[in-house]
Symmetry: C2
Subunit: 386 residues, 2 copies
């Protein structure tokens, strides 16, 4: 087990009808900017619930934050924060709205001229204005972590950063919101959370027995509830375990003391930036190829995973490891997610080279748990994913 430091101060308020508790979590006299996405919260009643809970506050609404929150849109929100003297941000949405809100929190306190520098320079973020979240879509775990990803339309870039000052003060998780989520988004959430766990798990054994089992617990639970939640989004047993699993998949806990490998995300982000493919689907495209390409360094964990999640007990380590990759692909297919780039676009020729060049141009840091993968390796993995 590696040394680690862990602190997660977000208050989770979980359960039925908890949105009504909102007011007591926000400082009196706060002037609130309520951020949301494409407007589904107006159809499913969450907008009204939030407005009612905040009737004692001055609230400015800012909608229209797109999936893969865009820098350009967040700059518009930043103008509102400054002109309206906003003191508290409330994200009402999924990972995109919450990520955008984190960027906004940091940008509101940023003293440089170009807030994009927060992402491109990755200098430490030391201040942010306080914010909370009302989660409307389980998937990213952003409601209980301090990281965020922002997309810049004009340059087709998608960059990630974070800071310990950017944990939400609170997040309200009412599993009843799941009932109005379209199946496609549910499937995305399942694969997104599943892959978050894999990125913190599918490396090499390092004696972190408890972290391994916690990670496996989340995978097992996602596998168990996937058919039920896809069949009936109002199944509270499935919805509540889905929601809590997504949060636990990326709130830092399972990643403490273990090697991590975020290469699937790094390559996946590029596919979203280039083609606009849903984040979770890019992960499903890249992950199997990544594990096949790095088979030797990952085979022990792949075999452990195959045994404990999929009950594969026969065969050599290599046979079990291979079965683990195949089972993963089958699981993604079972929730309706395709795992080849060519199933999403016909225009994929040259993508491997393009991504490889982007990585080189950006100043290559090395991908994989040992930071040994080069842009040429990335090109091969992307090509295997065609």
């Amino acid at each position: 087990m590696n040394n680690f430091e862990f602190k997660n101060p977000t208050k989770i308020i979980f359960g039925k009808d908890k949105i009504a508790n909102l007011a007591k979590e926000i400082p009196a006299n706060a002037k609130i900017l309520m951020l949301y996405g494409g407007g589904s919260i107006k159809k499913n009643g969450i907008y009204e619930q939030v407005k009612n809970a905040l009737s004692a506050f001055e609230v400015v609404a800012f909608g229209g934050i797109p999936a893969n929150p865009e820098y350009e849109v967040m700059l518009d929100a930043l103008k509102v924060v400054k002109t309206q003297k906003i003191t508290f941000l409330l994200a009402v949405g999924g990972g995109s709205v919450i990520d955008g809100t984190k960027f906004l929190s940091a940008a509101a306190e940023y003293e440089g001229e170009t807030p994009w520098d927060i992402l491109s320079t990755r200098k430490p973020i030391l201040k942010g204005i306080p914010f909370g979240t009302v989660l409307t879509m389980p998937a990213t775990g952003s409601e209980m972590n301090s990281g965020f990803v922002i997309t810049r339309r004009e340059t087709k870039e998608k960059l990630a950063t974070g800071s310990p000052v950017l944990y939400p003060k609170f997040s309200i998780l009412d599993p009843q919101v799941v009932s109005s989520i379209p199946q496609k988004q549910i499937a995305n959430g399942l694969v997104d959370a599943y892959t978050h766990v894999l990125e913190q798990y599918m490396t090499y054994p390092n004696d972190s027995l408890l972290q391994d089992r916690f990670a496996e617990s989340i995978l097992q639970t996602l596998v168990e509830i996937a058919p039920a939640i896809l069949k009936d989004t109002s199944d509270y047993k499935a919805a509540s375990n889905f929601m809590w699993s997504c949060t636990m998949a990326l709130n830092g806990l399972i990643g403490q003391g273990v090697p991590q490998d975020w290469a699937v995300h790094m390559m996946g982000h590029e596919l979203t930036a280039i083609f606009g493919i849903d984040h979770a689907r890019t992960l499903a495209i890249i992950a199997p190829s990544h594990y096949r390409y790095n088979f030797d360094s990952k085979k022990e964990k792949l075999a452990q995973y195959a045994e404990r999640i999929w009950g594969v007990t026969d065969g050599t380590i290599e046979e079990k490891a291979k079965a683990g990759i195949d089972k993963t692909e089958t699981f993604f297919h079972s929730v309706g997610i395709k795992t080849k780039l060519s199933e999403y676009t016909t225009d994929y020729s040259g993508t491997a080279e393009k991504i490889s060049k982007r990585f080189s141009d950006r100043g290559w840091m090395g991908l994989g748990e040992n930071q040994k993968l080069t842009p040429a390796d990335a090109a091969k993995i992307v090509e295997m994913s065609y």
Copy 2:
């Protein structure tokens, strides 16, 4: 899954040689009271490590906090806090020292005349002076929770309470400290942590799939590392997983959204108060009888536990549940812990009635996950444990 609210703001600093990081976690200009136990930290070098790390601070040392921290001793410490104008408490020890420090934190801000009222009235504790911990013995989880238990010698009482303001600011967990812990204390730690998990798990199914698996992860890990850590306390793989498992067993996480049953602790506390038996050993005495007495209400979880922890796959639910209890007893025996009161004292006659009367006198609240067990039930369970 039940509704829940969860926030755990303690910063965990985990790993080799982390005690050296102490100074940067404590406010500059703090005047520190360093609390410790019987003096083992002077033999194993931890006292020196802490003193060296704090060389820039004014530090007053207060040793002699006994196992089952005593009210009378903590009142002496309170005098030191007040006369020396202490602003920060540092617990260097196991659960007893940390629990005593939490009481001291609250007592230092208490405005009534008799600090015992903090425990006996259980009024909300709204303030505490800040404190951190250096954990020297994995067991209780007190290093990452906000509860504490204090014993009053003169009345042979042992009472528990807690408050959200009593989370440690930080806790330093260096698994290397395990190497100097006597085998008897290691065994106590294993059984204590194991039972903490059981108290949050061995009730009835309530659709909390992820919490169940997290709980099972801790139990599996404790079972896996128990022989190794008892054989060689300097086995870092075993020590680090032992330490992290003990913390995770009682930092609130696995108890969110699930029914809990702290009856084994309630009865066990009385055995410690009456006979001075080590806390963990009282749990091992009571737990099997408690599960046998409440077999019908707990059999489904007992069977799940037997299957997932002990691989008992054959038989009816009742047969598996029974095997689960037997396996638990066998596990306690395997680490050298006896499970009958008569193995600790010959003077046990009348204990059941005495404990039952104590519960009645204190104003009975009902034990068990449904608060349905009466003092008469407790008497029967204790008698089954003779």
